[in-house]
């Protein structure tokens, strides 16, 4: 099942679709308002775009610098070629220290690598500690959004989940009460944890430090209580210097949620006595993407989620419809790079309205990249046969004006002659929810020629009327 059928299933619940669309549009509106308060928002975006592009240009040297600085500060740096290596490194670190209970703060990377199931198979309990992430974990669901993992759920559904998994009273749907319950449950897990795993927003080459932003304080709690902190970071998260952080941080929170700054911005550099900081740097296909001129800029992504919030398709199809770790426009660019055949529908889950490129804080040309993927799909023959054939025939017809006028005229004449219900049947799926347009008897070219002839006869400009000359199949 691909995006098309899952999206259709989502849309079939009109009430949920309306509500999901409005919840995300609300976040988009908050982003707009936050952008209004920055004196030169567009210049800030350009600056961020330049920083991230420079970082991509200098990626290898920056990571070498990071490794040296981080090691000097007392962190241990590990390199993972792919998800498997990443999971093996993390599991080994935990096993060697006899860790069986881990708290994790949101990381799309560990989601991408499938770390939780890997650790659980080895008898290690992993608890996601962001509220949204915890909710989807309790439901055994993947996140549906990269910043708001449980945005697809309504309060009542969260209440049901808590009733089922935490013994909450039935019918509880008060957000404060639900949050208090989750907090209480998580507190014990924080205290019992022997290791904390976090994602990383920015790795700073100059200082060998890591920056993680969050809103719930769970990053700090999850790394301050246990003695072992494992930070998992994708190859694209490197930035050259400390001075780059203010630019990126100002944009990140505003683009993500409309906040001026996230509630917590945690900086980690090395480890103090008796504690350990391990940094696992993960490639998992990123260096391959870096070598693709059409797509490399997608690695500039700072995972703010703004492109998801503004995407009219994402808002009306839900994150799960994409069937990927990262949904929405950026997911539709990144995921086909992993498996083009599996995600062949994603570059087409888009009307090319261009809104995503306008909100992206690092100016990733998402619509152009989606278009580029469509070109790759065509070149590799991955579009459905029927579609290819139809387009080939259409191109042949459109290359010949006489053919267009003949086929168009016949088509319209036929459509006008046949019973409407039959025509609607033939024109499906266009007509499932749409009425057919009233078909004109004559094409513009025919009417234009007729108009000129009349004008010549009369020596006057003719009165035009598209509806004149019914019955003419021109």
């Amino acid at each position: 099942m691909g995006h098309v059928s899952r999206a259709r299933a989502f849309v079939a619940d009109a009430e949920r679709t309306r509500w999901h669309d409005q919840a995300l549009w609300f976040v988009r509106a908050k982003r707009d308002a936050a952008a209004d308060l920055v004196p030169d928002w567009e210049a800030l975006r350009s600056e961020a775009a330049a920083i991230k592009r420079e970082a991509l240009e200098r990626l290898p040297e920056l990571w070498i610098e990071f490794e040296a600085q981080a090691t000097r500060a007392g962190a241990v740096v590990h390199w993972a070629r792919d998800a498997e290596e990443h999971n093996a490194i993390v599991a080994r670190l935990l096993r060697e220290r006899g860790v069986t209970r881990v708290v994790k703060s949101k990381s799309m990377l560990t989601e991408e690598c499938g770390l939780n199931p890997h650790l659980e198979r080895q008898g290690i309990e992993v608890v996601d500690t962001d509220l949204g992430e915890r909710i989807v974990q309790l439901r055994s669901e993947p996140p549906s959004h990269i910043v708001m993992p449980a945005i697809h759920l309504r309060r009542g559904e969260v209440g049901e989940t808590f009733a089922r998994t935490m013994g909450a009273p039935e019918g509880l749907d008060d957000p404060d009460a639900l949050t208090a319950l989750a907090r209480h449950d998580l507190r014990a897990r924080f205290l019992a944890a022997e290791a904390g795993i976090t994602g990383v927003n920015f790795a700073v080459a100059e200082t060998g430090s890591l920056v993680v932003v969050s809103n719930e304080g769970n990053v700090d709690l999850g790394t301050a209580l246990p003695k072992l902190h494992i930070a998992c970071v994708g190859l694209e998260k490197i930035v050259p210097a400390k001075r780059d952080l203010p630019v990126l941080l100002r944009l990140l929170a505003r683009s993500a949620t409309g906040q001026a700054i996230s509630a917590y911005t945690s900086h980690f550099r090395g480890a103090s006595a008796g504690r350990e900081l391990h940094v696992v740097i993960v490639d998992n296909g990123r260096s391959r993407l870096l070598a693709e001129p059409d797509f490399r800029e997608a690695l500039a992504c700072i995972r703010c989620g703004a492109c998801l919030n503004t995407c009219p398709v994402y808002r009306r199809s839900g994150g799960h419809s994409y069937g990927t770790v990262i949904p929405g426009p950026i997911g539709s660019v990144l995921e086909p790079a992993r498996d083009l055949v599996a995600h062949a529908e994603l570059p087409h889950a888009c009307t090319l309205c261009g809104s995503c490129a306008e909100v992206c804080p690092v100016r990733i040309p998402l619509p152009q990249q989606l278009l580029a993927w469509r070109g790759v799909l065509a070149a590799r023959g991955l579009h459905p046969r029927r579609r290819r054939l139809a387009l080939r025939i259409a191109a042949e017809i459109l290359s010949r004006p006489t053919a267009l006028r003949l086929v168009g005229g016949l088509g319209r004449a036929l459509a006008r002659a046949l019973p409407e219900s039959l025509v609607e049947q033939l024109a499906r799926p266009w007509t499932r929810e749409r009425a057919l347009p009233p078909l004109p008897a004559a094409s513009f070219q025919t009417l234009w020629k007729r108009r000129q002839a009349t004008a010549r006869e009369r020596g006057l400009p003719a009165r035009s009327d598209a509806r004149e000359g019914d019955g003419d199949a021109g």
Binding site: A7, C353, A378, A395, R434
Partner: protein, 264 residues
């Protein structure tokens, strides 16, 4: 200045009255033009479908047909955007696409052309109706006709709004979402039919809530999408291309009522 009119293939076949409205408008404004007979399609549907070869083939055809014109005007924001911005890099060709002096550089969307040439100077059209303007994504975000709601760039003239706003008696209604996509998107409207329709219905609801009587746009494809959905639901909204509204509003003998009825 030699003006070539491009009436896109689907307008030619499905909405000839839009092409005729451009003709009426140009005649009224005293703009000389030609309509090359060989014209069909600029290649846009193939480009967005990912079929570059076919898009380029039609693009080259388009270039050849319009090579002799100083400016190519089309009543379609998305076709203009395609020719101008995505027409493939045919700069190696003599008259090539986006290259210097290529059709890409010489192509204008109708409203843009009218505003750039100040074609309506001194003419006061009249349209005493409540009109909802459906922004064409491609005119807005590709051609930068005006500032999209996401952008914080300095304000720019939005030609379609400027032209409509100058009509006497018109009320441009305030939408909750002034530039959200109608959901057409070429093949998207068929391949992602369910989401496409949801998007269109949401736009229609916005126009209805805002009290629009007529919905207009600089793109015929958006209007076909919205009109199909609205008609099926028996909505009272009337859908007319901006060329039709302008031609009617400026027609010397047109009474305001005739102008807006459209009797479609």
């Amino acid at each position: 200045m030699k003006v070539g009119l491009f009436i896109p293939c689907y307008v030619d076949q499905l909405r000839p009255e839009v092409g005729l409205a451009v003709v009426r408008l140009f005649e009224r404004l005293g703009i000389a033009f030609e309509i090359p007979e060989a014209q069909t399609c600029c290649g846009q549907p193939f480009a967005t479908a990912g079929e570059r070869e076919q898009a380029d083939r039609l693009g080259r055809r388009f270039d050849t047909i319009f090579s002799g014109y100083d400016v190519v005007v089309t009543p379609s924001g998305s076709c203009a955007a395609h020719v101008r911005r995505h027409g493939g890099d045919r700069s190696s060709d003599r008259i090539g696409g986006r290259g210097k002096g290529g059709t890409g550089q010489r192509t204008r969307e109708l409203c843009e052309f009218l505003v750039e040439t100040d074609a309506l100077r001194g003419l006061a059209g009249r349209l005493p109706r409540r009109v909802g303007l459906h922004a064409s994504c491609h005119a807005l975000r590709d051609l930068r006709q005006g500032n999209p709601s996401e952008s914080r760039e300095p304000p720019r003239v939005e030609p379609v709004r400027a032209l409509l706003g100058a009509l006497e008696g018109i009320e441009l209604v305030e939408l909750a979402r002034r530039d959200e996509c109608c959901g057409f998107g070429g093949l998207f409207s068929i391949e992602q039919e369910a989401v496409s329709c949801r998007m269109g219905l949401d736009r229609i609801a916005d126009h209805e809530r805002a009290g629009a009587e007529i919905v207009t746009s600089s793109d015929v494809s958006c209007l076909l999408q919205l009109e199909g959905l609205a008609r099926r639901r028996g909505s009272a909204l009337v859908f007319r291309h901006v060329a039709e509204l302008l031609a009617d509003a400026l027609a010397p003998d047109a009474t305001a009522a005739e102008a807006a009825d459209g009797s479609r």
